[in-house]
């Protein structure tokens, strides 16, 4: 039942991503219409001032890390599902597992560091 547990986490992560990435998309791609969390006003979602204003907000710092964890797991588990369905051997599956865990954890460390470090930036 080990795989069932991971699959359940895959779906739970999907729901978390829907909420947090949905907000992320509303901020960055519906910026002209909504202008949420963009101190410079519409059409400047990825300008430095807006980026740094969000990065220094504790809400975004925390939710970025939650989104990072959920999306890395969801993405790599999804890719692993696709790969494992292609009739690969046990050895290849083990290799994919180790590779995805290592790359995923490395990116988690990098992304978490960025979220913490960018809170200290002087706007």
């Amino acid at each position: 039942m080990r795989e069932t547990k991971w699959w359940a986490w895959h779906m739970i992560a999907g729901i978390v991503i829907f909420v947090l990435l949905g907000l992320h998309m509303l901020i960055t791609h519906f910026d002209d219409i909504l202008g949420w969390f963009n101190v410079l006003g519409p059409s400047h979602a990825i300008e430095w001032e807006n980026v740094v204003a969000r990065a220094q907000n504790i809400f975004f710092a925390v939710t970025y890390v939650i989104l990072l964890i959920a999306a890395l797991f969801h993405g790599f588990y999804g890719a692993r599902t696709i790969i494992c369905e292609m009739n690969i051997g046990v050895g290849a599956r083990k290799f994919v597992d180790v590779l995805f865990w290592l790359v995923g954890l490395a990116l988690l460390i990098v992304g978490t560091w960025a979220a913490i470090a960018s809170m200290a930036i002087k706007g």
Partner: protein, 150 residues
Amino acid sequence: MAEGKHYPNKLGIAGWAFRGRWGVDRYLYTLHRITGLGLLLYFLIHIIVTTSRAYGPEAWGQWMDTFAHSWIGYGEYLVFLAFAFHAFNGVRLVILELFGGVGKPIEPIYPYKTSLNTQRPLMVLIILVIVVVVLVGSYDFFVHTKPLFQ
């Protein structure tokens, strides 16, 4: 992958192309996988690129200028399309799997109830939602001025 009885996947990736004995939902399955892999690729790059904000405005600006003046920048719209599809089709899958969209097995007594009666309207509804989200997003992308498309 669950251990135990193993059924070989005879079609492999060719099984993505034609729905065979499955319903039209099979094409959503194919699109869900393609968009999922695309979003994962973007996400890995996105983590590295957005990490540059920790190094200050110059580092950030350099990356953003690079994308704004490159064909890669236009890929942003593809990422948005992939997101719109994958997110709302994912909602459909969660409804089916966790919130009773498939329904419990029951005796086949006439008039037959089939989960297709709920799944097919749900599929149509979800496609309509995706279309609306894509239209609103496209309006934001192309109609309003955006540095990327100037």
